[in-house]
Symmetry: C2
DNA sequence: GCGCTCTACTAGCGCGCTCTAGTGACTGGG
DNA sequence: CCCAGTCACTAGAGCGCGCTAGTAGAGCGC
């Protein structure tokens, strides 16, 4: 019932290519997989015929036929820009190892379970979960069903690879940096129940106490809104802290916005430190002092963990911890007199 | 080589479930597809057995067996937050229509062609491309190979559905709003070669000229960096415009940052209008006046266009244009005296 | 001539599922 | 008592590919 002429009769298959070249299907398959056993001339003819027919190997069939899919499923939260950095790092590493990558997003309207189901049912051999909020028990169970690597969350005792930054070290560096600059009144806006937040909160408390300073944690989250709310709270009080360690960069940017609108300048009136070093922080006029997480390194480690465990099933899940690095930029300086 | 006991011998299949229940594979298939023809009791037993075995239908096989995949492939650019809003809107609509969604990202290290190939080889029946930069001819060719819907770019004469906002109207509303407020010196920071930018640029020129005002376009892009650069440029000049229409919200936020750092306040010293209304613009202290694009509506229209054309192949590609709506928030007001 | 290896290819099963065309048992109307 | 009409279920042919086992023919040493 189509137009007529080029009636694109359902997509060409390997058999069509084989027929056109005058060889067996098997040979075509072999050529497409780049395996030895075909003459150069045949290869050329196969490719030419395929091109002409618009043939395209069908992954579903391919996956079905070989036991393995060589596909990695990545769960991302669609609005977290640091996760975007991670995704960007996952692709090249996966490609290098010959794996395909499929993304599935979580969002307010789509929970993690759904995102994971989608990946699993598309034959992903291993899952890489970026900052999952799921309960430990759920992750443990998932870890028994598939090879799972979790990025950004420490999960001792759970059957998954865990790849994360040493949050503790990062926060300690941030606090030490501020104390070195002379700050005595440092507050922390935490990340609420976001992955990694508990560690950062604890690390903050430990660090300021080690310097015999008072600790104060304002509840927050990993978005700008939370930073703004915290800033409003602080502005409503009698005296401001001289420095704020934010739960992540987005939160820090929220703080800066509200403080900036109130006429404060950084670091003249108040110092701000972020966490993540997402691509916005680099931007010349945000110029945020922040704890750099090595997104590419985390991504690479996650892909490597997942694929290596795929290839050696006996390997137990591991915890891979990358060191953060404080990047001092323009939002920190000595406290106001 | 696992623990022992539950040695997860490769995943259970439909046959395992069938054997366990003592029925045929076909019946299990039927139950899983929710088709009539099985007693309630059998259904329950099948589901129970499946649950117990941890059975999970295999999509690859499923897709292979039925001709269709009912899968939509979505190409996103990983760092564009407006696209994140679109993705969020795509999921529920696709689900409602019984389609599965697969994401594939473009990034500096991964070009559009690769992202598209990945989707195609995973049996996506239709592609939804969010703000593609590819050439018209390439999109046209792709449109012949598959059902393609492009969001955010006007593509007359190309064999794809095009779903976009009436950029022209939006910009005109923005300019009219500023003129109504008394502005006579309005510049535009454009989106360079990003999809939609040419229309916005033209619309800006037409609108200001209609009011007999001078037009000026600064080259930009759809990110904060571009906004910052444009702001620096403007600040370096003798006199500032009284209002800036940015190519999109991210660009507007960049402008605000740099202007804000220079001590300007909005709208006291300068008015700013964005485009997109991405989730950051809502935030209380950014509070950006912007041209709202209906992300959910665009997403829904794209899914609908793609699926309907899938189900009725004779339908020609359409252009769907949604009206934008100027959302007046806190960054616009009368010009400084 | 024989056995041997090597290259270039082919036959055909099976991956896990869907779907068409059934089968047999049970109703109920005439 | 027969036949049409359900209902619950089954047999078996593929979907497009990968892969193992095998073959035909050429070349080579003896």
């Amino acid at each position: 019932m189509r137009e007529g002429e080029l009636t694109s009769r359902s997509k060409p298959t390997m058999a069509d290519v084989a027929a056109k070249v005058g060889v067996s299907r098997a040979l075509v398959s072999l050529v497409f997989r780049g395996q030895p056993g075909a003459s150069q001339e045949t290869r050329d003819r196969v490719f030419a015929a395929a091109e002409e027919l618009g043939y395209h190997p069908d992954n579903a069939a391919r996956l079905l036929a070989r036991g393995r899919s060589r596909t990695l499923g990545v769960m991302v939260t669609v609005h977290q820009s640091f996760q975007a950095d991670l995704v960007e790092g996952i692709y090249p590493e996966a490609e290098r190892l010959g794996y395909d990558v499929l993304l599935s997003a979580t969002a307010p309207t789509r929970d993690e379970a759904k995102a994971v189901e989608a990946l699993l049912s598309h034959r992903c051999e291993a899952l890489i979960l970026l900052g999952p909020n799921a309960e430990r028990s759920a992750l443990d169970e998932l870890g028994r069903r598939a090879v799972v690597a979790v990025v950004g969350r420490r999960l001792p005792g759970v059957r998954v690879d865990s790849i994360h930054t040493a949050d503790t070290k990062g926060i300690r560096q941030a606090v030490d940096h501020l104390v070195d600059l002379g700050h005595r009144h440092i507050v922390h806006v935490d990340g609420g129940k976001e992955p990694g937040s508990a560690d950062r909160r604890r690390a903050y408390r430990a660090a300021v106490r080690r310097h015999k300073l008072p600790d104060r944690v304002l509840p927050g989250a990993h978005d700008e809104e939370a930073g703004m709310a915290a800033a409003r709270q602080l502005l409503s009080e009698d005296s401001l802290p001289t420095a704020v360690v934010a739960g992540n960069d987005r939160c820090a940017i929220g703080l800066m916005h509200t403080f900036g609108r109130a006429g404060l300048e950084f670091p003249r009136d108040i110092s701000i430190v972020g966490f993540d070093d997402n691509h916005l922080s680099h931007l010349s006029h945000i110029d945020l002092t922040t704890v750099h997480q090595d997104a590419a390194g985390l991504a690479q480690a996650a892909v490597h963990a997942a694929t290596s465990r795929l290839e050696d099933e006996s390997r137990a899940p591991a915890e891979i911890v990358l060191d953060p690095k404080l990047v001092v930029r323009g939002t920190t300086g000595p406290p106001p007199p």
